[in-house]
Subunit: 802 residues, 2 copies
Amino acid sequence: MLSNHLSDGIGMARVPWSQLPSSEEPEGLSNVDDELMAAARSLAGVGAPVESLDYEVIENYAYREQQAQKGKIWFTYTVMVKWFFALLIGVGTGLAAVFINLAVENFSGWKYTATFSIIQHTYFAGYLVYVLFNLALVFSSVFIVTHFAPAAAGSGIPEIKGYLNGVDTHGILLFRTLVGKIFGSIGSVGGGLALGKEGPLVHTGACIASLLGQGGSTKYHLNSKWLHMFESDRDRRDLVTCGCAAGVAAAFRAPVGGVLFALEEVTSWWRSHLMWRVFFTSAVVAVVVRSAMSWCKSGKCGHFGSGGFIIWDISDGQEDYSFQELLPMTIIGVIGGLLGALFNQLTLYITKWRRSYLHKKGSRVKIFEACLISVITSTISFGLPLLRKCSPCPDSEANPGIDCPRPPGMDGNFVNFFCSKDKEYNDLATIFFNTQDDAIRNLFSAKTFHEYSAQSLLTFLVMFYTLAVVTFGTAVPAGQFVPGIMIGSTYGRLVGIFVVKFYKKLNVEEGTYALLGAASFLGGSMRMTVSLCVIMVEITNNLKLLPLIMLVLLVSKAVGDFFNEGLYEVQARLRGIPLLESRPKQFMRNMTAKEACKSQQVVCFPRVVRVGELVSTLRNNQHNGFPVVDQGQNGETVVIGLILRSHLIVLLQSKVDFQSSPFPCGPRGVLNSHKLSDFVKPASSKGKSIEDIQLSEDDLLLYLDLAPFVNPSPYVVPEDMSLAKVYNLFRQLGLRHIFVVPRPSRVLGMITRKDLLLEENGSSATMELQSSSVRGQRYNEEMLRSRIHPESSILDSLLIQK
Amino acid sequence: MLSNHLSDGIGMARVPWSQLPSSEEPEGLSNVDDELMAAARSLAGVGAPVESLDYEVIENYAYREQQAQKGKIWFTYTVMVKWFFALLIGVGTGLAAVFINLAVENFSGWKYTATFSIIQHTYFAGYLVYVLFNLALVFSSVFIVTHFAPAAAGSGIPEIKGYLNGVDTHGILLFRTLVGKIFGSIGSVGGGLALGKEGPLVHTGACIASLLGQGGSTKYHLNSKWLHMFESDRDRRDLVTCGCAAGVAAAFRAPVGGVLFALEEVTSWWRSHLMWRVFFTSAVVAVVVRSAMSWCKSGKCGHFGSGGFIIWDISDGQEDYSFQELLPMTIIGVIGGLLGALFNQLTLYITKWRRSYLHKKGSRVKIFEACLISVITSTISFGLPLLRKCSPCPDSEANPGIDCPRPPGMDGNFVNFFCSKDKEYNDLATIFFNTQDDAIRNLFSAKTFHEYSAQSLLTFLVMFYTLAVVTFGTAVPAGQFVPGIMIGSTYGRLVGIFVVKFYKKLNVEEGTYALLGAASFLGGSMRMTVSLCVIMVEITNNLKLLPLIMLVLLVSKAVGDFFNEGLYEVQARLRGIPLLESRPKQFMRNMTAKEACKSQQVVCFPRVVRVGELVSTLRNNQHNGFPVVDQGQNGETVVIGLILRSHLIVLLQSKVDFQSSPFPCGPRGVLNSHKLSDFVKPASSKGKSIEDIQLSEDDLLLYLDLAPFVNPSPYVVPEDMSLAKVYNLFRQLGLRHIFVVPRPSRVLGMITRKDLLLEENGSSATMELQSSSVRGQRYNEEMLRSRIHPESSILDSLLIQK
């Protein structure tokens, strides 16, 4: 009785699969890959089309052939090219960053110089010039984005994060996106909107890396054949990781922060040998940026100067802190968590609304929207300081280091704006009517007690927070780092003012509290930890504040996590980018793999398939991977591998493998017909679709033998493995398809640690290797025949036959 | 013809496995897990026994039952306990570090105070006191290690690295090791040997973490039941990672460096949500250490002071550098690579020799050896400065900040030792006759041009290098960081002297070159990149040197990699710890999984096995995992899972599952007999062995049904997957066993990204989940019967039957 049930369970494995409910119509079955994404997309309104990336090595015949041919020299060459590319990415990103900074600072410099010189005469003309200057820049930015590079809008970090998680959003890594990002962010940042250039720089770095990886832009004929090295998604991913790190390193002049950002925030996987290369890229960026800055020091670059790259040196800030101060610091953390979470939520709603209503109406609405926001921002930043009463300058004898009011044409604190007396300054103008970099520097500045009134800071906080929320999601390149630092440092300084007032301690610096506030807001919004901490330390150049920054980040992230996800996760979800978190959900432990894929049906192809059938199946579904099964002697089926839609389309397009016989072809026909590079997916992610394929009626009647083109060894899991384990496999190896298969009937061997410790020389395995690698065409027929023994692998036996 | 061969290949899957050459004697087959390790061990001489760890979730019945019972509250509780443990690890490691530093500095302080006061009268008596003091400390250290905690010898980092790579070395994480490490390193460092306390601190942190994870030490009755939370190797691994980071954070007061060290150097895998916890632990350590130091500031802690923790503030060092200087810096990198690689090679030879000849002779030889080295070290460090002529002090008017000679009882430069005149100092004594921390501080010091003569530095370099090589591998706790920094900063300062001489630039600081030298030697020896860079920046508190440190590290690592592996890899290999590198070797791409395990044979158990057979099989081999197969209706076999040796031993010991019937038992018998915790491996890694099991003759005739205890879903790979892909799977998921199985006959489903994006609520999968989780015993029989439908998983059908 007992064994009856048991054998039921096991015997099931023997039920012909045509009788199972899920396999009644083998050709009508479907494995859905992109339906959910389509659903997510429709939920999210418009949104760019997304596609999964394939980080798995497709070990098809062409790959094996290439591997067998390549020797040690090829390997060394590859490594050298990879390092050379890391160098190029560093140099390219560094130069792009220098260019953007140069342009932004010069535009801003001209703008403020012109405005300040005009307001000596009339404020209204100054206002007009200021508004028009900003409007022109913002218009150029939004025009470039809407008409030339739509993927350049926003920060780009959610998309890059998605890319490295395994989801390709169309168009994010194109050459036009790169151009749009660079020029667009010059316009949007130079135009004084409440956004930053750091996110776009990360995207720029990733674009440069990706373009290098594909050997340039094909569309614009800027590509070079000999650079065609990186043919798998995997290699490109490594390059894009380097590019991300380079972007952060360039944006913040924080090389270590860049490596950590790439590691913690962006990538979903990590290999320690890659760290070394990423590190190198960051170092190159640091050197490039530094060299450019020292070259510009003599004034060759206009307004671009040492203050150019955001680096707010507060090394003369607060050195020591008492335990008493931990309370206000914790409060800063809590405020950061709350405001950050609120920011994420508000931007989510606004972006949703924008996508559903506003942006559907076309480019004109987008342009109008950005221009309107520009005018509003200019008006507020010009108008509000006018309403503010000026404060008298601090006593210059008691504070010898202070220059008040600041001389015209200089950066610094104590801006004289609409002040009636000479020895007065406008504290609101100091932060509002200024570039954001300078404003932050002023907020962080030490030894400037009571420079800002609580009223001004509060006004600024409310207005700027609102502007940042509203600006988020317009069709311009926009980073959230600098606005976040602005918001955070404002309330941080506010708390600092109260601490100075109540604790009555002299060694408390308001600037230090501003820094902690900045860290807390970024932590509460972006939810980064180590990388943010290192970036904050690197940009402020003060290591002593590290424990405090850590504390504030811990609190703000914990508070923020209580309410919602991080900014990039929220935005990625909104854009229909299905990110996989690093750990499986708890309930997955109680689910099996089979339960997870019960709702779908699998579309299988036989080994030799009629072309017409292939085409109709491809047309009838959107799935990207198909198992290929073949019949054994006794009518049993065996799975010989996985074929990708993109590979099928390549085969259908080239037509050279079509055959009239419905039986498997010999190796002669296929061995030289395709190289690995034929199957390389174009980096633009929009390969040919099945609709592009034109086949004659005659072609449709021919057959195609899929065996040489399948990936013969996709990862498989037994049907009753828990979904949590499957999740780990999928996520950690960056897979796209996993086969759920019945329990195996026997174990041919066990792989343990020792089997993987083989040395190339001196192990018997090497001998085996020589004879079993796929180099069929070099052997004569007898050699070939002798190799077909029962133990040779199935793929080999498929390929090497007469 | 063609299809003939094909069907041969496929039909092979149908050959009954008893006919395959590798399975003629199913019971006599063997899957070797530890033979290579035994071989490695014999190669390495003695060496502690090692065992693979199991980071995979064993989804046996007990686990499934536990998972089904635990709700959200349990999950929240677990998370809270994990954070609480991170806090405890931080506090514990911080306190241990403070204690070690306090003791070392006080011992050293007393030693030097006594010696300096005696040498005012007679140098010989001073020498004797110095030697004896050192000897006593070293003797205590080596005595503790040899007689109490043998696993505490050395730095411990290779073992911890191995642990986190998946190899458990016996005894490294015991309570006695912790005690031995703490007190041993006080003795060895206080005794003035050429070694540091940083490696041991990392080991200390890991021990504390591991002991917390197992709820205290069982042997010393310090354990607590309610802390028994972390029952899998996986959870313990997370804790040990936190411990490592805490150790580095405490040793260098470098919290970010600690996180990165744990990430880059130690762990073999990484999950980004763990980073957050590791970061928290480091932050706690920083706060603890800081608080202790500020508490001690008032002089309550004797000689322990602000200079205690190695942190060599060179924030007043060189600010700027010219491109000209890149050449000498590159040279420093090359020297570092060469000397580092040489160090690794020499220590390898010496450790080999020591293991093969010296240490075989027992503890006495080890004690004698350490004492001899102590006497030699003392003699050299006391004697050599005697031979050196004193130099006149620099002009005190031109250098107002310099105190020369240094007042007695103070730390600092310009030691007056065996000088005839008052206004003289002995440059060799300043670095040699001093604690290493002070010596490094002196070498790094800025504004001290020409303090050291090239001759002195060269003498010191040669002598100290030799001492460091000879001391490496003695039976005392020993870190290589501080000796490395000593060696590196010496030749760095040498190069600096030449740069000052030839470039004739005033803003060149010899101290900055010393720092770069230190970075280069560590890079050349340990081959770390990002973490070392951050540690160097954090201990010198100078961010501006970051690009230079990066450059030097890149060069030295590249040069070193040309010759050999990193220090820890070399040492791990020597100790028979089979580390898996992060990437598969190139030739593995051309090998299949089956080829890799061809040499071994698989020992399988049937589902119901006779106890006697089980015992004899376990006695006859050393393998740790066995596939369990069962017979289907038609005599076909099906693999129902993997059973671990350790679990079998638990079953054999408890005897409650023995049955007289040779048929599978019903679920009643087993459901409540074992809890998950019964199968937990003791953290000491020396569980029961099969030799400890005593069974009567009657017992041996009984049967045991293994089905409820197997891991039903080990990871499987098809036989012809390339070994490179298998390697990635094994390495990235931290596995211990992978089954190599024949190609599947069909695909039941495909798992793609969308299947893993399930939400717990609102998905149809949740409903399935409720009915298929293993909670058999709560259902009545009818419920049970209704669940046995053909689609239920095999394990369930095995367990839930009458």
